[in-house]
Chain length 231, copies 4
């Protein structure tokens, strides 16, 4: 894929954030990696979605050096590249401050799997990371935010839970490309909203039983998945 | 009604789900039965509402065998056909994961009749089914979801409560045709939202008194109904 | 005003209900009285806002006899005419099942005056009526709903509180004409929403102090009011 | 800047209130000061956003005397001019009754800094003022509302917290000009909503740790800020 095509895909995925009501103003950013070229295309920092043009998307390498582009890349770039280096199976990353997912992040609680809507997309809870230490905050903060996330996946396949909430901060999601990472951001927001409503209706709701959780996740994602059209 | 007309009605009813904000992405599905021909028209699995065309609607018989169509029918087809076989008075079925109704399903609570908005459409509580056993989940899951629902109607007329919530999952609604089943899905979502707000404002709110419940339901649905225009 | 003009005003006020998101489907109804002619124009029963035409509005007298119109008037007509007979200062009445106001009605709680948004429009609490007795429900129900409301105003000027919530049911509002009664319905919904949020954030919030309540109400409505432009 | 240009900027900023869903009907008002000319342009009182024209904006001096304009200025004008006199660094002021911020005002609670969304814009809590005394209410009320706000900033830089909530009333925000004060009003509403959701999910959530609060505020606003594009 040419840089131009890569920028176009990342541009479109960023606009989708706004169409799905996941961001206001300059909140949020989406990126996509080209593994062959070893580069990442990402939203420029602090630019509004209405003003942004495809050529404003910045190309950086996996060590955060600008390869092409005249604008400064997202201030969260180091978190994105950390995730691409750590999770080899992913192709796109989205960061938002979507309202309900952020409320869970602020409450520093993982989102338990309370129903099949959640189980259709995530195999188990949506983890809230531990908090950063003061040393991490005052060190290389955006890089450490990536560490905060990957530390939560030491024993977990990132594809089985393509969404995480960062304690005190907000969500990150990923997917096979930029578009799918935005799709996961939108699903997370809806799952977070349903879980909020469930827990405020009954703070002691038990998680979904394991058999149903497995059934729903695997009918969509297992080797014998039968949801959707054959591809 | 020709297959073509049946598909058109089911297509339109599925689009209404999106217009009423009851679904995002490929969530949800609507079907309609033709009792004379013994067939059901239903949404194809995993197709987005923006891409779907009338000819994509799949025709199956009441035993789930495809009669016409090139796409795979909704993964929930067996639940729909179970309901058509068990409830002879119904003509359309809708399944959504609408937010507030799903929150009640996740809390595994029936929605009590708290006001006249509810009583205008449902004669009594909106039942939350019992949970499936592990055997049911690992058996013929979508068929068993239908059993889960019909078990809750052993002593109840499905017309007096054209909506149910499946524990840990989400709502199913029905009506005389596909369009009315969507109408009931939208009403359920609004009733579920009002009940959520009422119960979070006061967890101990008493249900509506029986005399008012009867009055409101019967002025719309009884033999002496006087709501609306004569037909 | 001619019947035609009266119908047009009532038609427009009913459409405003839908534009302000106060109703779905056929919910709600608005009327306006012509005191000189002794007639009330009101929405027809069970007609959707998208299908309704100005000529569908029904004219009844204050004893509920149809004077002009081919459709059946709203099933709530007797409640409207009761209010016009009891409250001589009012010219329009609106009934909705707007979500937050209805939640307070279902909780059978009056809305306390918690802030200046409320005090700008209502001088004191927004009262929730007592419940109907079974005899009232099984008698002339819609007339008794009017009685339920006017009983709550024995010692209160209806202009100082142009909105009420009917226990277990939903709100009624009024004003100098149909349009203003809809305006009050929209304000009530926003006030009810703010009060819901305040009370779920802190169930023990104290009402606004009396001096501020008086100040805000009177700067808009007292004889020395100084809000808005001179008229 | 000419009066005409100043009015145009204030007109546009007022319309943005409606586009951002921060106001209904005639709620809210925005102003901008011209420090050189010693005048403030502000919305006229009680005029709807749909009817307002740029020439309806009223010009007053810092002592509230009308300099240009045929309409009565906002009834909150004295609060605006008080803020311009007290806070020399600000250029625009916005007052709304936006829903979630007003709920916190009604609960008479400051909004604690619970996450980075808040820390990106405000260095510490968003303060809820103390309540007015009866003497203040019955005195020069709108002037005293300004005093209520500036009393809360005796030891605080208004630029470090460009938003405040007035107990029992609603928010005021400010910025370098009218447009930025509206931007802060929209951010406040989103921060207030997230904080509401967090606290209703877990009433005991701890505030964000100080190191992260400082990091996020300073990466956007400190002398070494690195968010956004160089200007």
């Amino acid at each position: 894929m040419s840089y131009k095509e890569l920028k176009r895909e990342v541009f479109e995925a960023n606009l989708e954030l706004q169409r799905r009501n996941l961001v206001i103003y300059t909140f949020g950013n989406v990126s996509q990696v080209d593994r062959d070229k070893g580069v990442v295309a990402i939203k420029p920092s602090g630019v509004s979605y209405d003003d942004m043009k495809p050529e404003d998307i910045v190309i950086v390498d996996l060590d955060n050096t600008i390869v092409e582009g005249t604008m400064r890349p997202s201030s969260d770039t180091k978190t994105h590249t950390h995730l691409y280096r750590a999770f080899e199976s992913i192709g796109g990353v989205t960061h938002t401050h979507s309202t309900y997912a952020t409320a869970w992040a602020q409450a520093k609680q993982s989102i338990p799997c309370l129903g099949t809507t959640h189980a259709d997309y995530v195999h188990g809870e949506i983890t809230c990371t531990r908090e950063l230490t003061d040393e991490q905050v005052n060190g290389d903060y955006e890089e450490e935010t990536g560490v905060q996330i990957t530390d939560a996946y030491v024993d977990r396949d990132p594809k089985a839970a393509p969404m995480v909430i960062v304690a005190g901060h907000a969500p990150f999601t990923w997917g096979k490309d930029a578009a799918q990472s935005v799709y996961h951001a939108a699903l997370l927001e809806e799952i977070a909203r349903m879980a909020y409503l469930t827990r405020t209706l009954d703070p002691n709701t038990a998680p979904l039983k394991q058999a149903v959780l497995d059934k729903h996740y695997l009918r969509k994602h297992g080797k014998d998945a039968y949801y959707g059209q054959s591809k």
